[in-house]
């Protein structure tokens, strides 16, 4: 397979978003508010990490330097990670986790939907499988929004606070650069400009029904896509990577 630096970069973005969010979600394992929810979060985390595995494996193949998905996940520093900052923020309380999950799931739904028809058939295959999975995720997280927003005073307050804190990380989801533009021309990237209005309309409808107030747009330049991250990612990675780094090449 011919090396395409843009496609490699793009696959890292897709893989890292899901790896980091999957890890954050997995931090709930054994700590969920009820048993069913604990299992649900662990299952969704597993799907996300599975998707990340496939995207990163393909990234390594496209790069052509012999790196596999494990090397990419465990032996890159934070500065080499390409995820959006939204997904690396600490898991917070349950409302924060679920509101973030909902914001991301709707985004991921549209991205994977488009990528199913990518020219690169391997990318299309991973997207098609992921799209089936995200349909379950988006149903799950969207069900929690009215439950929290239109629940008790306490749950409403927590959901609103989560939304207020998360909103400034949204513009980064839809920012496009040369990598996106080049790959859209090649038929291998999602056109985020067409996704943003759909995302907004779905989010607005669900949040409004949940009696939550949509915060004002905030201009903030988060640039995780070029490796600039919050301090939280480094801490998360040190935990995520320690076993692989302490025992290189170890197998079960």
């Amino acid at each position: 397979m011919s090396a395409s630096p843009q496609l490699f970069e793009y696959l890292l973005r897709l893989g890292d978003d899901r790896l980091v969010l999957g890890h954050r979600l997995s931090e709930w394992c054994g700590h969920g508010p009820i048993l069913e929810e604990d299992i649900a979060m662990a299952n969704i985390a597993l799907d996300l990490i599975g998707q990340a595995t496939l995207f990163l494996r393909l990234a390594g193949k496209i790069e052509g330097k012999g790196r596999n998905e494990d090397q990419l996940a465990y032996f890159r520093e934070a500065i080499d990670y390409r995820n959006v900052q939204l997904v690396e923020l600490p898991k917070g309380d349950f409302a924060f986790t679920m509101v973030r999950q909902f914001l991301f799931d709707v985004y991921s739904y549209h991205v994977l939907e488009q990528l199913q028809s990518a020219k690169n058939t391997e990318l299309a295959g991973i997207a098609a499988k992921g799209f089936k999975e995200v349909r379950y995720h988006v149903r799950h997280s969207s069900e929690w929004i009215p439950r929290l927003g239109d629940g008790t005073d306490e749950s409403h307050q927590r959901a609103q606070r989560a939304l207020d804190e998360l909103w400034r990380f949204i513009p980064e989801l839809f920012r496009m650069d040369d990598v996106d533009q080049e790959l859209i021309k090649a038929g291998n990237a999602a056109d985020l400009s067409t996704i943003e209005p759909k995302w907004r309309s779905t989010i607005t409808e669900v949040l409004t029904r949940a009696t939550l107030k949509i915060p004002a747009d905030m201009p903030m330049v988060a640039s995780g896509r070029v490796g600039r991250h919050s301090e939280f990612l480094g801490h998360m990675l040190s935990e995520m990577q320690i076993v692989a780094r302490s025992h290189p090449g170890v197998e079960w």
Partner: protein, 167 residues
């Protein structure tokens, strides 16, 4: 060593899904294709869920099974497209699921859009109870003991049961 396509598929029926030990990888639709070229054997398989932990075990099992039948040159190849769907699970396999107390997957419904997926109220899928056949059932959780199953409850016989999600 010579083997026919049918013979190889029959051999692969010895490989069971570790999480659904009553089912083999052929009837689950995990084995996509086989190719035999003299004494070289290639088996195409497809992952069910991206993060399904059973897949690595299955891959190893397939290789071991075919090797122990006398083939040294075995390749297990992962095919991602088109993605696996529960529509490929055979009717016989669905019967076996029912016998094991798991409601089998229904036909994958034509894709519902995002508006419907995020709707506040939606009719819970009325999955038939594998124990008593009643349709008076309710979904308790979309995520169950494994990635592929949901937890349902039968209001008629008052039993919980797994539903293999249509996927």
């Amino acid at each position: 060593m010579v083997i026919t396509r049918e013979g190889l598929l029959e051999l692969l029926r010895d490989v069971k899904d570790p999480e659904l030990p009553m089912l083999d990888v052929v009837e689950l639709g995990i084995v996509r294709d086989v190719e035999i070229d003299a004494d070289r054997v290639r088996i195409d398989i497809t992952p069910t869920y991206s993060g399904c932990p059973a897949l690595q075990v299955i891959e190893r099992e397939i290789e071991t099974t075919v090797r122990s039948a006398g083939f040294d040159d075995v390749t297990v190849n992962t095919v991602l497209f088109p993605p696996w769907t529960t529509d490929w699970v055979t009717p016989e396999a669905k019967d076996k699921m029912r016998e094991a107390g798991i409601a089998p997957p229904r036909e994958v419904s034509s894709a519902r859009g995002i508006e419907e997926l995020v709707g506040i109220r939606r009719a819970a899928p009325n999955v038939e109870c594998p124990w008593c056949g009643s349709s008076d059932t309710v979904q308790k959780s979309a995520f169950g003991s494994t990635a592929c199953k949901a937890i349902h409850f039968c209001n008629s016989c008052r039993q919980p049961f797994d539903y293999f999600k249509a996927f």
